[in-house]
């Protein structure tokens, strides 16, 4: 009798437990289906770019039950908004869509969260070039950023003009060499000189040999350094901006000075007010058909095939940025002549990435969304969508077929992808400066660059002034500490 009762109790308990457990297991399954039900994830970023992500969030919202909101900030205010929010501990967004340099500063200050291992898996990191992995997404060996955009400066040129037989003959007569995509800055200057001041498209307006980025606070830094690397980044030396041991700035060494001199001289073949050209004016000028050569990011490619904005569809060629046959070697303190021009591709700006700030309301949901956006599938779509501002960030995106599908001609797609891939994998590549105080260093160099370009000071004097300011900045921030950061960013061990 007792055994029967016990069995009854056991059965009853089992039944009860079954009743209790089953519904919660059902609940559990449902919760796993939509893990972030009711949550809200706000993504802040530059207006005109961040809205783009909404193209690819509907599915994610379905799956997770969360809602994605976008907070567009005027481009010139992004830094100030992020910094003031950080400084006062105010919530701005769950995910920041941010430039790599500002993001780097946040990483260095411990204001963003490290990407949890489980979210790193879906990002296709093996396919991302090492320099992005190391410099763009990580700080001090830890990964904080989710990939989205890669930034590499490249040469864009009017392939139709360079292929024109009449021009080719005239060019040969004038300069004695063949008209082809310039590999050195000398060739670049010759071509620019040749095409400048004429009206080769017959629209009644003068056209120019080149259009570049020399405006202060609008990429003078990138415009200059993408040129200077050829003169001052020696292939045997990993460092470029500073001496890695002493943190003495190198920006006023003869390599940099010559680069700035040559650039100042080249300005005459560009639009007379090029010093006032911001990014948009530069792009506008080239895809509006007014310039033959252009040094810029990979945005020009997709923009040039957009029939709504471009008059140069299928007329654009791509190559790596020219280099210099004369290279300054800081180790020997002397000039070296190279047989083939020394190219040192400059990954200027570093690219837009996603970071999750410490002030996020829901870290899991934020990382989930960010890693969804950073997945290879979404990034592939983004990179060919004009208006998204996403340039190639992985090798899979550099398959020409992708670009032909986006409207490039086969030839252009080939050249475009090859130019970027060659740049990314070049051992002499230089990544943008990524140590604390970057904005201070940047501003003082840009002031110097624009002073020299506008004729207010000689290249030598301007760069000396900037170097002195760099020393003051380094001292103020702590020379030893800066040295450590710099050496880490170069991937070299140091004292």
């Amino acid at each position: 009798m007792q055994i029967a009762r016990r069995r009854l109790v056991v059965l009853a308990t089992a039944a009860l437990l079954g009743l209790v457990v089953t519904p919660s297991s059902v609940l559990l399954t449902r919760a796993q289906d939509r893990p972030f039900e009711g949550a809200e994830v706000v993504v802040s970023g530059p207006a005109g770019q961040v809205e783009c992500i909404l193209n690819w969030t509907a599915d994610w919202e379905e799956e997770t039950g969360a809602t994605v909101l976008v907070n567009p900030i005027p481009f010139s205010d992004v830094d100030s908004k992020v910094l003031t929010a950080t400084g006062t501990g105010t919530f701005l967004a769950d995910v920041y869509y941010l430039g790599s340099q500002t993001a780097g500063q946040l990483m260095g200050a411990g204001q963003v969260l490290e990407v949890p291992a489980e979210y790193q898996e879906s990002l296709g990191l093996d396919d991302i070039p090492e320099i992005y992995n190391q410099f763009q997404l990580s700080w001090n060996g830890k990964m904080y950023g989710i990939p989205w955009d890669g930034d590499m400066l490249m040469l864009n040129y009017r392939s139709d003009l360079l292929a024109d037989p009449t021009f080719q003959q005239a060019f040969k007569e004038q300069f004695g060499s063949d008209l082809a995509a310039p590999q050195s800055w000398t060739e670049y200057a010759n071509i620019a000189e040749f095409f400048s001041g004429k009206d080769w498209d017959g629209d009644g307006a003068t056209d120019y040999g080149l259009v570049e980025l020399p405006m202060r606070r609008n990429h003078a830094w990138n415009g200059f350094l993408s040129r200077a690397t050829g003169y001052a980044k020696h292939p045997d030396d990993p460092a470029f901006f500073f001496d890695p041991e002493t943190m003495t700035p190198r920006i006023n060494n003869p390599g940099f000075v010559k680069a700035l001199d040559d650039w100042t001289n080249a300005l005459q073949w560009g639009p007379p007010d090029m010093l006032a050209y911001d990014w948009a004016a530069n792009a506008q000028s080239f895809i509006g058909g007014h310039a033959a050569l252009n040094i810029q990011w990979g945005d020009i490619g997709p923009m040039s095939v957009d029939p709504e904005a471009s008059v140069v569809k299928d007329k654009v060629g791509f190559d790596t940025v020219p280099g210099s046959t004369e290279v300054w070697n800081p180790a020997t303190d002397a000039w070296e002549t190279m047989v083939t021009p020394n190219k040192a591709p400059f990954a200027g700006f570093g690219g837009w990435i996603y970071v999750v700030p410490a002030l996020t309301r829901n870290a899991d949901a934020s990382f989930d969304l960010a890693s969804h956006l950073g997945s290879p599938e979404v990034r592939l779509k983004a990179v060919t969508t004009p208006g998204c501002g996403a340039n190639p960030s992985s090798l899979a995106q550099l398959d020409p077929a992708v670009w032909v599908a986006a409207g490039f001609s086969a030839e252009a797609a080939d050249a475009y992808t090859r130019a970027i891939e060659d740049s990314l994998t070049d051992p002499n590549v230089v990544f943008d400066l990524r140590i604390p105080g970057i904005q201070d260093y940047k501003d003082s160099l840009e002031i110097a660059i624009t002073k020299a370009l506008s004729g207010e000071a000689s290249s030598r004097a301007a760069l000396d002034e900037a170097a002195a300011e760099w020393e003051r900045i380094t001292d103020r921030l702590g020379r030893d500490q800066q040295g450590q950061y710099y050496r880490e960013s170069l991937g070299i061990a140091g004292a």
Binding site: P272, A276, Q439, E446, T450, S454
Partner: protein, 314 residues
């Protein structure tokens, strides 16, 4: 304004002197009632920023990091050696002076002209108000950058068609500050126009009639009658406008970003860059305070110098 003793003072009120003649020297409680609400609002909104900003100048607070340290006068020392700061001060002073004078001159000229025409007054008054009403971002981008773009804008295009040659509005460091001044004049002459027009319309007629009877020339009338009698309006308008110009930032940020080099760098732009773009609040606040000191000195001198002419006019 005549200093008459008011009948309000005829009835003796204890504790009140008549030294200030034209004002009732009673200070509580009604008088307080008028001024206190505004004063309270201002105090509440200004005391914390004032004190915090001052405290920041003695610290090395950076927005990126939590926690700041007291560093004494280091920021102020840095200020003394800062070439960009010095340049921004001269730029600001120069642009403020040029901007205010030009706006005043044009505004006065327009106001005088409007009063002399018989038809179309309303039209002109309305049109001249328009520029003030446009958002500064729009003025900066569309008028500053687009219009003055040498190769992509209409102004140089027109100049070229008129065979007058293109002007390097933004790319030339000597010209760029003028472009900023022009943009500011374009937008804010309206303000001067409105105030000066009203001032002119309110001037009494007798002195002018008497002068004309005496055979004074228009120029003499203008210099010896109009201008002096217009002093109070002039003083207020110029003060307000110059105070705003000292803080010029919106136009510069959009049109030249302070360049080329530091040709158009203004103090407030420098503060913005330092404090909000680089996070260097300590030094940014120091530069801001330096400007505050400069402007205060300017305002005190200005009001002191102009006090007599205002009183004469009254």
């Amino acid at each position: 304004m005549a200093r008459q003793t008011s009948p309000m003072l005829a009835t003796p009120v204890p504790g009140i002197g008549t030294a200030a003649g034209h004002r009732v020297a009673r200070t509580k409680p009604v008088a307080g009632f008028f001024v206190n609400p505004a004063a309270i609002v201002v105090v509440l909104l200004s005391i914390f920023p004032f004190v915090l900003s001052l405290a920041m100048t003695f610290s090395n607070w950076n927005l990126l990091y939590t926690g700041a340290q007291f560093i004494g006068l280091d920021n102020w020392q840095r200020l003394l050696g800062d070439a960009t700061f010095r340049r921004s001060v001269t730029n600001t002073l120069w642009m403020t002076a040029a901007g205010t004078v030009i706006q005043y001159a044009i505004g006065l000229g327009l106001a005088l002209s409007v009063l002399r025409i018989r038809r179309g007054q309303r039209f002109f008054r309305l049109v001249f108000l328009l520029p003030m009403m446009i958002s500064p971002a729009a003025v900066g981008y569309i008028i500053g950058r687009m219009q003055f773009s040498e190769t992509q804008g209409p102004i140089n295009d027109i100049l070229r068609h008129l065979e007058l040659g293109a002007v390097p509005w933004i790319s030339n460091p000597a010209m760029a500050p003028w472009t900023i001044v022009i943009a500011d004049v374009w937008q804010w002459t309206s303000f001067m126009f409105v105030l000066l027009l009203a001032g002119l319309q309110s001037l009494p007629e007798e002195p002018f009639e008497a002068a004309q009877v005496d055979g004074a020339s228009s120029w003499q009338i203008f210099v010896q009658l109009t201008l002096p009698m217009l002093m109070p309006v002039t003083v207020t308008a110029v003060l307000i406008r110059s105070l705003e110009l000292f803080k010029l930032i919106d136009l510069v940020r959009v049109i030249t970003a302070g360049g080329p080099g530091t040709a158009t760098q203004t103090v407030t732009l420098y503060v913005y860059d330092l404090a909000l773009n680089r996070g260097d609040m300590g030094y940014g606040a120091t530069v801001a305070y330096a400007l505050l000191i400069l402007v205060t000195i300017y305002a005190l001198i200005y009001l002191g110098v102009t006090r007599r002419s205002v009183e004469n006019a009254r």
